[in-house]
Symmetry: C2
Subunit: 215 residues, 2 copies
DNA sequence: CACATTAATACCGTCGGTCGGTATCATAAA
DNA sequence: TTTATGATACCGACCGACGGTATTAATGTG
């Protein structure tokens, strides 16, 4: 392939194609050669000019996914029109439904079944999502009086743990009925520590999502 | 190496050595050749006679670890001298301390940092540990009146999720102070749904474990 | 001895990664 | 405007190591 005047364009092509193939076949089952073949004309040397290893491609793919999520989480956290409690509800309500069409959801499901991506997601939950997006919202809620807790940091981690893993049908396979049961206990548990966050509407929404995904 | 009269002995040797190397270097970084070299005299043909792939060795290693855990969990669940509540406390108290010396703990920590093993552990939590060990104990507690909940299945999953992942310093890196915080919220949350399971002694125990591990 | 089982070894295709080289770019001195 | 220069983008043959197989040799059991 002819030399590109804008190399970051080539980098983007590689990352996009890698993401596509990682979703299709998983990280281990995608070879550098697969990426090359799919890119049509680009060579191995080109890839290794831009990335020093397959692992580095993986990191770039993760960064791309992370950046897309960040834009969305930023907009919730920095919304001036809502108090902390309302923002936390928005996060909960939109966890698997909001900006995502079915294709995106299917993609996330596929990618989370890859051990490397799952591990990355768990790590990111505690290093980025909880401290930078959930906890600030909870602290705002404490400040504006809409949330009462002595454990903002821990509560953020707890919510993200249960949301991202336990009640996430993309990770822990579940029937709609099982999802409903989990959400009901989740709701009860939050209510038990004085946080009335999950109502029947949210539970129904998660169940519906699980149904759509389950089929 | 000469033909072994008891081939299952050879299988055991292979699995033991594979486990040792997986702990040392991780699954991906351990080659079949590494296992051969370490076994001293045994050949590739021998390994591929007993196992049809590297993946199958991985499964055997997981089964071995699982079997060791099962023996321990069996003994708690089937203990005739305790009610459900007491058994649940035993499980909580001994999660990272009981039969394990430091070497074993270090080993588990190493292995859980391998994506393949982490994924296996999460899957097993919901497919084996929760339904076969935690839930029966909770149901016994409901029957004998020592535990009150309408969600035995969900509660089992919730406990194992938080215990295995969130408050597990082997997975989610944490300072002793952070562990204390997490355990306090965990205790509060269970108390909120009417289950007074985690006391200061357990919290102190987890913090101590985290301290030992952290250093 | 016969025969199945266990183990040894030479070999295969594919993998991630390297390397010497070429083509094309921006820059600026001639 | 041309041309020399150095950096960057890319090429593709090649490498050692990998997981896995096919064939053969050895050994225990009836």
């Amino acid at each position: 392939m002819a030399r590109n005047k804008y190399p970051e364009e080539t980098v983007r092509l590689i990352v996009d194609e890698a993401l596509k193939l990682f979703i299709e076949k998983g990280y281990d089952n995608t070879s550098i050669q697969d990426i090359i073949d799919e890119l049509g004309g680009l060579s191995k040397g080109a890839i290794y000019h831009h990335f020093k290893s397959k692992e580095e491609i993986f990191e770039a793919v993760c960064a791309k996914i992370g950046a897309e999520n960040s834009v969305y989480y930023d907009s919730i956290r920095d919304d001036k029109t809502k108090n902390g409690y309302e923002k936390l509800r928005v996060i909960l309500k939109s966890a698997y439904t909001n900006p995502n069409n079915d294709a995106v959801i299917a993609m996330i499901g596929k990618i989370l079944s890859d051990p490397k991506f799952l591990m990355n997601q768990i790590r990111e939950s505690y290093e980025l999502v909880a401290p930078s997006y959930i906890e600030p919202v909870i602290r705002q809620g404490i400040a504006d009086g809409s949330i009462k807790t002595d454990y903002p940091k821990e509560l953020a981690e707890l919510i993200i743990t249960l949301l991202n893993i336990w009640v996430n049908p993309l990770i822990v396979k579940a029937t709609p009925a099982e999802t409903t049961g989990r959400m009901k206990l989740f709701a009860l548990m939050l209510k038990g520590i004085g946080i009335d966050l999950i109502d029947d509407e949210i539970i129904r929404q998660y169940t519906l999502f699980c149904e759509r995904w389950h089929a």
